[in-house]
């Protein structure tokens, strides 16, 4: 996090996966294998940022329900995980719907 401030101020420049690249068949195949998919933001010590939909195991701390936001960082003794309340199921669904609408109308998705 210490390496991020300059880049993090300009959210638009953070590489992020377009919703339209999600493959429904892949999502279904993951579910069949006992896995799930989550939108994950990653930052490394070099200040590189990335936001993408990732395959996540059910037992991963990242497999949080939509009413939770989770962030973590590596420590020598393990992964330090913080969990907080997120915007909730309805507002998450509304935001996704907005993304889909934007994608369908060809508008840039910045959120």
């Amino acid at each position: 996090v210490f390496a991020l401030p300059a880049a993090a101020r300009d959210v638009v420049r953070i590489p992020r996966q377009d919703l339209r690249t999600l493959d429904p068949a892949l999502l279904r195949a993951r579910a069949a294998r006992g896995l799930t998919t989550r939108l994950v933001a990653r930052a490394d010590r070099g200040g590189n940022l990335r936001v993408a939909y990732e395959e996540v195991a059910l037992g991963s701390p990242l497999a949080a329900p939509p009413d939770r936001v989770v962030y973590g960082y590596e420590l020598p003794e393990g992964l330090r995980v913080h969990t907080g309340l997120a915007i909730g199921y309805e507002r998450t669904a509304a935001a996704l719907l907005d993304d889909v609408r934007d994608a369908l109308t060809g508008r840039e998705v910045v959120r």
Partner: protein, 330 residues
């Protein structure tokens, strides 16, 4: 309770509902349950839980090679055979593992055995497990198993409760009340860890039998540095110190009280049930387990095992406890 935890390699985590309501009032916010799975993921699932100091790691496995709390009972070819069963174990809410618990200096909402059972139900939902092949619980784990079977009878095919009854014996509660009093006094004096070590020393004397302590520490006391020191003290202090390194006083207070608050109506445990008790157990006397057995609608077996280890017989009596487990899981 804190929503920040540190997860060692290999720990799995289940997020509980944002507001996890507790049976005795209050709620945990943003809580999570740490757990471990061992054995084939497509095999019938057996939940294995031990006493308050036992956690998610029941035995060594390829994924998590360190020794667990129930070595010799869980593993390939052992009574709980991980070649044909999947073992699921979790860290207690409120305890010293990686599940949500109090941080130092935090006041903690009370977590009952029925709350642990409710948390397990959420874990099963998250893992898409409809029904357990069995719940095997010892000591506090047995209490939680009874609570789980009473509340979610359709979600478990068999229950095996060892060294656990439908309520705590008043004498055992008295000993634990003294332990909590010691820890609370220690916290007030800013010496919580030392107090916790002392409380654990007292607890150790209740887990074992007078016969075992006589055989191991029957020598004469020594006078050293102007103070009398009994042979048993080295052992007590080592066990107390070990416990106080791993636990916060607040966590001990939470789970210790949880044992005393446990109470379940035997008639409500409408699941095929096997019970085990230990002759000489000072905490859960066989008479209490017989009383539970008499009230169970589907009692399948009751074993009274003679053990010089008393309540800790579930950790030590491999042959007798193993035979009971094989019968349950046949």
């Amino acid at each position: 309770m804190s929503a920040a935890i540190t997860l060692p390699q290999g720990v799995l985590l289940c997020h509980l509902p944002a507001e996890f309501a507790l049976a005795h009032g209050g709620a945990l916010h943003g809580a999570s349950l740490a757990y471990e799975r061992q054995g084939p993921l497509d095999a019938p699932v057996v939940v294995v839980q031990g006493g308050i100091s036992a956690g998610r790691h029941a035995s060594a496995s390829a994924q998590v090679p360190g020794p667990g709390w129930w070595e010799g009972f869980v593993g390939d070819g052992l009574p709980i055979d991980t070649q044909r069963l999947q073992v699921l174990s979790f860290d207690w809410l409120g305890g010293a593992g990686c599940s949500t618990a109090s941080a130092a200096g935090e006041s903690s909402p009370f977590v009952g055995a029925e709350d642990q059972a409710a948390a397990l139900a959420h874990l099963l939902d998250a893992l898409r497990i409809d029904r357990l092949a069995a719940f095997v619980g010892s000591s506090y784990g047995g209490m939680v198993g009874l609570q789980f079977a009473a509340r979610f009878p359709k979600r478990v095919a068999k229950l095996c409760a060892i060294g656990a009854a439908h309520r705590s014996h008043p004498q055992a509660s008295a000993w634990r009340a003294v332990q909590r009093g010691v820890v609370e006094l220690g916290l007030q004096c800013g010496r919580g860890r030392e107090a916790l070590a002392l409380a654990r020393q007292l607890a150790m004397t209740t887990y074992r039998t007078p016969g075992e302590l006589r055989d191991r520490f029957g020598g004469a006391a020594d006078l050293a540095g102007g103070r009398w020191r009994a042979p048993v003290q080295d052992w007590l202090e080592a066990r107390g110190g070990e416990f106080a390194r791993d636990w916060l006083p607040e966590q001990f207070l939470c789970l210790c009280a949880s044992i005393d608050a446990h109470r379940v109506e035997p008639a409500a445990v409408a699941v095929p049930t096997w019970l085990g008790s230990f002759v000489g157990d000072q905490l859960v006397p066989p008479a209490d387990v017989r009383e539970l057995a008499a009230g169970l609608p589907q009692l399948r077996g009751l074993r009274e095992i003679r053990s010089r280890y008393g309540h800790d017989g579930f950790l030590k009596e491999r042959l007798a406890v193993g035979a009971l487990l094989r019968e349950v899981l046949a």
